[in-house]
Symmetry: C2
Subunit: 492 residues, 2 copies
Amino acid sequence: MSDNALKEILNPRSIAIFGASNNPLKMGSIHLLNLLTSNYKGKIYPVHPREREIFGIKAYPSVSELPEAVDLAMIVLPTHLVAQFMEELGKKGVKRAIVISAGFKEIGEQGAQLQERLIQIARQYGMRFIGPNCIGVINTAIGLNTTFFRYSHHPGRVGLASQSGTYVTQILPYLERHGIGYSKAISLGNEADIDLVDALSYLADDDQTYAIGLYIEAIRRGREFLEVAREAVLKKPIVALYVGGTEAGKRAGKSHTAAMAGPDLLYDGVFKQAGIIRAPDVQSLFDWTWALACQPPLKGPNIAILSNSGGPATSMADAAIKWGLKVPEFPPELTREIAQLIPHTGSPQNPIDITFEMDFTAFAAKIPALLLAKDYIDGLVIYGLFGSSFQESVFSAARHIVKLDLSYLEKISQAAFEQFIQIPPKYGKPVVAAALVGREDDFVRGLQDNNIPCYLTPERAISAMSVLYKYYLIKNKFTKRTALKGTNAIYH
Amino acid sequence: MSDNALKEILNPRSIAIFGASNNPLKMGSIHLLNLLTSNYKGKIYPVHPREREIFGIKAYPSVSELPEAVDLAMIVLPTHLVAQFMEELGKKGVKRAIVISAGFKEIGEQGAQLQERLIQIARQYGMRFIGPNCIGVINTAIGLNTTFFRYSHHPGRVGLASQSGTYVTQILPYLERHGIGYSKAISLGNEADIDLVDALSYLADDDQTYAIGLYIEAIRRGREFLEVAREAVLKKPIVALYVGGTEAGKRAGKSHTAAMAGPDLLYDGVFKQAGIIRAPDVQSLFDWTWALACQPPLKGPNIAILSNSGGPATSMADAAIKWGLKVPEFPPELTREIAQLIPHTGSPQNPIDITFEMDFTAFAAKIPALLLAKDYIDGLVIYGLFGSSFQESVFSAARHIVKLDLSYLEKISQAAFEQFIQIPPKYGKPVVAAALVGREDDFVRGLQDNNIPCYLTPERAISAMSVLYKYYLIKNKFTKRTALKGTNAIYH
């Protein structure tokens, strides 16, 4: 896919931006300010009819006076001005654009005509563009963020193609808070030119992207989508949230991005044929893509559950069965080994409840290693690995009354963490965690930053683990099909 | 239920605690320290064979030397000492206890015998107790917290009865972070004496509790549970998470709290007959109980959806249908009115997308009031009410480059907030919000603290709204049944 038009859009050496001024509250200005304060190292040229400088950098009065045919144009102009500037850009030799401006096909017939005009201009000059009515792209590998929301988290492994700008922008604080990082994110808007299929194809080939998330209101090129997805899924997992399958969703999608959606069952079929895992909501879309991007597939349904508490142990065991996994009973020799490491009030059977009065080294290192070494255990879900927030919740009261030096507890927690993160890579089996606390806890933050997804509730961890198994089955199935196709097409 | 034994346990004038010492890292000490730093105003008597003072307050060498027969005894002693102290307490005339110590029926035959002994002692002396193997209770009305986790949030409306201590303790930071407050929380442990039925009955009669959440591994008294629940549900909604329905869940529950669970389908039937809404996971348990505790029932399936962005509008519309709600098309006169308040790039049809370039007063006040006044709209779900976090995400970049005084934006946001929170109570219809940001945002925090649940994803808000409809239907059904029973029992 070396000819994918998104390649230049996500890796521009120079950007011209239209619609920014020295008024920092205008949309275009916010996009520019965000670009200027990101880590993007390429050249940035604001274009404005009157301003000579915008936020301290030189502005250019017109397209023709730009010093070069930039790699990318970002257009945040009023609707009626877009076509004119697209044409000037075409004449200048600019080949890529992001049209952020809205008011096109999504608002009805008049907008549809304007959108048609953009397509014609692009064809005439050999331009390719995203939008209109989109929010642009993020490429964390080069610090590029054309949106108006700050990207604060470190670069990640999740690639997103979205027919909603919100799930590229307003979602950023949510993702940061959950420890999820984007590799690339692409807001597609009305898809007048570049569409979901292009984005999927791009992300499939992107080395920084380990799993792909799709937010879909409608697929405009069904056959091509299926073809591209079936190849992509051999390389990396794909999770899709489709919201156009009900009458209300369809109506909303139409006025949002002019999408013509189809019934849920049809899309179910498409996703199944494509090897795409369907998410029921935004939360699952990101929970699942995150796990798939960070952890290896689960090569069998048998998981071990390890918890510092009976409630989550029980919830997780029950949820595992409901999510299609198995929680096999351990053979007596293993329960005996575990029993020696936990208090007598705990349970050494699967799910293991080591109870709250625990030996942190047993919990975080010895037992996980013991479990992952067994060939009848395919993966591990662990509840209760937390440090600083626990000390805060449990000992802050104490500190009012007694002088309590908790630094040795911090050391124990830190040592346990160091031991724990060595373990998963050793066994090549997936490990997923849950904690009821987020990144405010140092242990949780450490897990997440070391590619061990840690979720806010026990069941979310289980559902993520179940998806690691789903992808294993999908990949197997599609690999066999492809092999079959290669050897004897007649049976395919 | 004036004879409910939990009344004194949740409202003790005096507490004796066993197992605390001057070592602040011992379990009993942490319980005591937490109690001492809570807002509880009653008397606290530590009992210890050798210490004369514990954390600065007088300690008593034995039960017999306690200055009074306390209202409540908290026992955090090693397993083998519990029976002996229970007996001494009985002799002293103490009538209520919380047995936090574990190592009883949940660990097998030997523990079961010890537990039986506790029951006999209690019967002999007319004592009632929670536990063993529990974590105690929280009563935010009087600042009582017998657990070892800090309760930092303000008193709330959610009452919880739980067969897991974790969902009373380790869940606290999670609840605080989500803006959810407990009225009362009761950890039941092994239920040797006081059980789920007692707790449900207590919470049903508790004025501070507006909705009841249940975490269940097994129901030990089925018939009584059903009777109590059917009466309770006429007063307030009940949501239950049951995790004992699979083989793995059953096994885990048995080793956790010695529970003998039954199949999922059986419990489905019990919940249906009892008018209890069944939650699939911990997240839903609290999301739903929260909404039910804060908002009135949804008296019809027709909701309006209002969003600052097309993606969430579409996701919510689609989710609403899947959750059994309706997103009716607005009549032309309403869309015309709305169209005048939003940009031309927005959509004035249900779901309304007012787009990001919005008039905050229209979004937060005019349109909500317009919608809730219509008799064909039963409730409102709104996405995008946020303030400080948005300014942070969008303008923090700008502040590096330009001096930007955002105080006027804060004022607009604050004014919009003040207008918005006046609206829902006026119409008596439920309003639920979603934001992708949490309490770090001032607007979100304000919503939550004014009893408008605000969820982290669009679909969670929709599912909460659907439960407000479910409870409306349940209450109607049960009220009719009760009326029927009163007038003509023969048809019942």
